[in-house]
Symmetry: C2
Amino acid sequence: MGWGDLGVNGEPSMETPNLDQMAREGMLLTDFYSASPLCSPSRAAMLSGRLPIRNGFYSDNAFGRNAYTPQVIVGGISPTELLLPELLQQNGYRNKIIGKWHLGHQPEYHPLKHGFHEWFGSPNCHFGPMDDKTVPNIPVYRDTDMVGRYYEDFQINRRTGESNLTQLYIQEAVTFLEKQANSGRPFFLYWAVDATHDPVYASRKFLGTSARGRYGDAVRELDYGVGEILKQVSKLGLANNTFVFFSSDNGAAKISGPRGGSNGPFLCGKETTFEGGMREPAIGWWPGKIQPQQISHQLGSLMDIFTTLLDFAGIAKPKDRHLDGTSLASVLVNNTQFDRPLFYYRGNALMAVRYGPYKAHLWTWATPEHLLKTTCGFCPGQDVINVTTSQQVDHSDTPILFHLGRDPGEKFMIKPSSPEYQNVMPGLKAIVATHKAQLVRGKPQLNWCDNAVQNWAPPGCEKLNKCLKGPPSKPFKCDWDH
Amino acid sequence: MGWGDLGVNGEPSMETPNLDQMAREGMLLTDFYSASPLCSPSRAAMLSGRLPIRNGFYSDNAFGRNAYTPQVIVGGISPTELLLPELLQQNGYRNKIIGKWHLGHQPEYHPLKHGFHEWFGSPNCHFGPMDDKTVPNIPVYRDTDMVGRYYEDFQINRRTGESNLTQLYIQEAVTFLEKQANSGRPFFLYWAVDATHDPVYASRKFLGTSARGRYGDAVRELDYGVGEILKQVSKLGLANNTFVFFSSDNGAAKISGPRGGSNGPFLCGKETTFEGGMREPAIGWWPGKIQPQQISHQLGSLMDIFTTLLDFAGIAKPKDRHLDGTSLASVLVNNTQFDRPLFYYRGNALMAVRYGPYKAHLWTWATPEHLLKTTCGFCPGQDVINVTTSQQVDHSDTPILFHLGRDPGEKFMIKPSSPEYQNVMPGLKAIVATHKAQLVRGKPQLNWCDNAVQNWAPPGCEKLNKCLKGPPSKPFKCDWDH
Ligand SMILES: [Ca+2]
Ligand SMILES: [Ca+2]
């Protein structure tokens, strides 16, 4: 889901009444970013409060490639990372993840081994395989054990787009909230539905109801889900004691065409380090604590969720590691603002940096040539010369500079000969130099693939008679091609 | 000013608090259009309720060229057109125009000869000449007579961007409102400030205050002006009896680069018939009559202002001519919706048609080749193959079809071989055929230019010692090159 998919962010059909209302009741953050332009590293960064380059959610197989956790991946979240739910668990919180985990599916990466008490959802994306019989369909877990598989037990009709999944995830959240309210124990709910991801689905009552086609139907259902959750929080009397945050893990996937969603006025989409790839919709809600109708232009990051939640929960930050997330508590509660740099990584490559309104591209790379031959690419209909390059181009000596206030769409480069450029660039270069000098890279977790590690026989498969036999282990270097 | 310049329409800096508040207190229209992608014809269409092709605000010198009223233009609004202020005047309204008239500057086109009682503003754009001494600077009128000229008596500092003009126009509006409230007579105020037009200016107190540079400063001052006007309407006790409508005459001029404003997710800008050229910000406000927090997706047009205002004023529509505007009274008051086609003209060329969510391009033309050599063009950073063509391309046989709900950015053509295309296109073609068959073109008013007609000696120049001597008349065909 992209920045531009919210009505309050200017999607012309304006079909997110619940998210828009959430923004009116709380704070809309306009300059909020994911730590990666795609799913797995973005989520790992959010739960660890650290850049993928530190927590290991990247690959060194090639320079600047997006890597994630398909079911052939061997790795997952490193045991040395300390995840938000682990810290919350140590402090009496009850933690549940609903939806996509995406931090590895081998036994050691199971979310219940990383701080969550409960899980209903899947370890990988629902995009495939699609019942092709030669590889296992993605399992759906309830807590420790699988309870079925996509396309077998949890239907997604590829032709009609019908699936009840989001409804199941909404019901699961509503039930969990009620249980927690009754228990009186603090809780952490990570509602990570995979709806709006391609192939796009919605339940029957939402199909065909939007002005935006099937993608809009999915957005409407997601929006409905947020409404149901907020309603439940209020109904249970938890509103004054519950912080709710809405965001997305990456920009809209423009490569999916009109089923890919909107990044509003921003350049390109998912997989890229242009604004369309990493600027995210973001809303903070906490009646009584966050004032209504707030707008914040604070540079924020999904990694701040880690730090902000610890702050709100009164839990000390771990001191034994570098955290990239910063607490936004005062931003949210008092609408304060502070300066900080923001780093845009694509895999192991630091592509760009933002400080204040300025963004400097050290490297440019949009859609690789081979993908342009068969798809509309990551920037359909957009072409900024020397910027949306189909090759990796090194601009480290003379970075390409944009002012995101005047030019949020990254269309009009500031000339290197201009006083403005010469005024700003040394500071940006110093920020990059410091970052690079201090950076301790985590061991890359996404280098190796193996058909043997696919979800052949997840725990619980025996009871369901759903165990499959995989091939012998034959690790290979994953081919990350963009 | 473009659709995307409003905070409620997703400009990331969100610096239009007054317009956003106006929208929250009234109705935001998302699918509202100008009748032309540039100023003069758009304004002529609004005040006449008729397409430029009917009211004569176009040129036949070449096919599909944008024509307007620079100071060498001979023509202006045809005497056979019946303008909104004329009808209102006949019904007891007091009418004032503040700002840019742009319907011709020869004596017979003076706004006070076309229904307005009062005027403070200029007949042409402030963009030039800029005190170059070889041609007259644009005059500023108070009512019948000029009271000075731009760059001489009404300063616009091109270097600093400072000008007090918008403040003068705000003060003028506030004073007029007070006078009318005291008189108890009904009134029509056409607040047509030219701020945000290139070269962009703002008053000292707004310069440097926005996150968007000088353009943002101008937007902030315009927004402030709207706030002052609404505040005055309320303060004077007129709110329950006053309909206020905000819109723009064309899309943001993307050719001006970062000083050109934003068309949000839409394609291209001013001068083109893509959504960025003609989709406009639009807000209706009338406390007690228009409910707060309304959003309407009704296809609307600036030409509807003509019809809607007559409707609200209880004045019968003229029956002796075809009107393209339709009353939006019920849309505004009851949030109803109706079907209607919308025609996109560039000069004398019908370029595209919209019906429901579908838009069919009969012709495509973005930036002409010669302009691409020296400017960033009308679609900087955007390039949709076969769509943003630099030549005029005729698609009448197989129009290029977009679904503006799924694809507001006009990026993903619907394949002519698809059932959807085949289902929709016959209806769109029939709408075009009917429109063309019934169309009676007005006599083109924008064919002839003449250096003798420039603002050498406007009425009142003697008193000010500002009369200049022009050359003898030597009419030539205006060269409209795009
Ligand atoms: Ca995603
Ligand atoms: Ca204009």
